[in-house]
């Protein structure tokens, strides 16, 4: 499945691994923080309506 990367396999695979971990981490963190912010606002609005 993985193409033959020859003698640079470690370099290429580690570059892709680091970049993908950073990108997925950024997306995951943004989604998590966004969900927390939405929940915090809903709670605050519910409280202020009471």
């Amino acid at each position: 499945m993985i193409p033959d990367l020859g003698k640079y396999a470690t370099d290429v695979l580690s570059a892709y691994a680091i970049a993908l971990v950073l990108l997925i981490g950024l997306v995951g963190l943004s989604l998590r923080q966004s969900a927390k912010a939405r929940k915090a606002l809903n709670d605050a609005e519910r409280k202020s309506r009471k």
Binding site: P3, D4, L5, G6, K7, Y8, A9, D11, V12, S14, A15, Y16, I18, A19, L22, L23, G25, L26, V27, L29, S30, L31, Q33, S34, A37, R38, A40, L41, A44, E45, K47, S48
Partner: protein, 242 residues
């Protein structure tokens, strides 16, 4: 209808809510297509071997790292001149994305540099200005965290952003300004024909579109998050005052 209407948080939330699903689908499909195409279906270069596949990450990430700072500069100037909160929050939202892009560019560049240049790092004009840009990104994000009052934080970070723009531009033009160092000239230019073969050029273009749309998706998502946090703080402050 004026562009400035979207400086109204309610209008911005409505528009960004409609745009987000499309931007997400476009970013995901372009990134998957570009990276799979580049990694699995491009041949090794006669000089660089398989390390040429690193350009599909390095070039778009470096391009975004510089341009995100310039987007932050425009948003900061809008804040300073017109005092629109959404623009200040958009600049704030872009900073973590810029930090990630700069890190990807630095790491992938270093990994590519070791087999090609014989070193992970050199104090070359472009590499050094890029490292300084990374420090500015960190300082910018830290300043937002450090200052409690949102408006004061927006003022201070806008000034920092203007100063850092010198390094964003230096990162872009360092290889043209100083004809020395290891880093080669730009891979893609708007004016000249691309120096790279079409078999690398097209997947690279798809990756660049993927990184741009990923940025748009994340900056919209994060700006919406900051607008919600700001509204929450206002509600809590109002409640505390009663």
């Amino acid at each position: 209808m004026s562009f400035w209407e979207y400086a109204n948080p309610v209008k911005f939330m409505a528009l960004s809510g409609r745009v987000l699903p499309f931007a997400t689908v476009l970013a995901t499909s372009c990134l998957l297509t570009g990276l799979v195409w580049g990694f699995f279906f491009t041949a090794d270069d006669f000089k660089q071997g398989s390390t040429v596949k690193i350009i599909f990450l390095h070039v778009p990430a470096a391009l975004m790292a510089i341009n995100i700072w310039l987007m932050m500069l425009v948003a900061s100037l809008i804040w300073l001149v017109r005092r629109h909160h959404v623009s200040a929050l958009a600049a704030r939202a872009a900073a973590p994305i810029g930090i990630t892009m700069t890190l990807i560019a630095l790491f992938t560049g270093a990994i590519w540099g070791k087999p090609m240049w014989g070193t992970y790092w050199a104090w070359d004009p472009r590499l050094t200005s890029f490292m300084i840009l990374f420090v500015f990104y960190l300082g910018y994000a830290a300043l937002w965290q450090a200052v409690e009052d949102d408006d004061t934080a927006a003022d201070l970070t806008s000034i920092l952003c203007m100063v850092g723009s010198v390094f964003a531009l230096l990162s872009r033009y360092a290889v043209n300004l100083w004809n020395q160092g290891l880093h080669q000239a730009a891979t893609l230019t708007a004016t000249k024909q691309s120096p790279i073969d079409a078999s690398y050029y097209y997947p690279l273009l798809v990756c660049i579109v993927g990184f741009i749309t990923l940025f748009i998706t994340l900056v919209l998502l994060r700006t919406r998050m900051h607008i919600r946090l700001r509204r929450t703080r206002a509600l809590l402050a109002r409640e505390a005052a009663q």
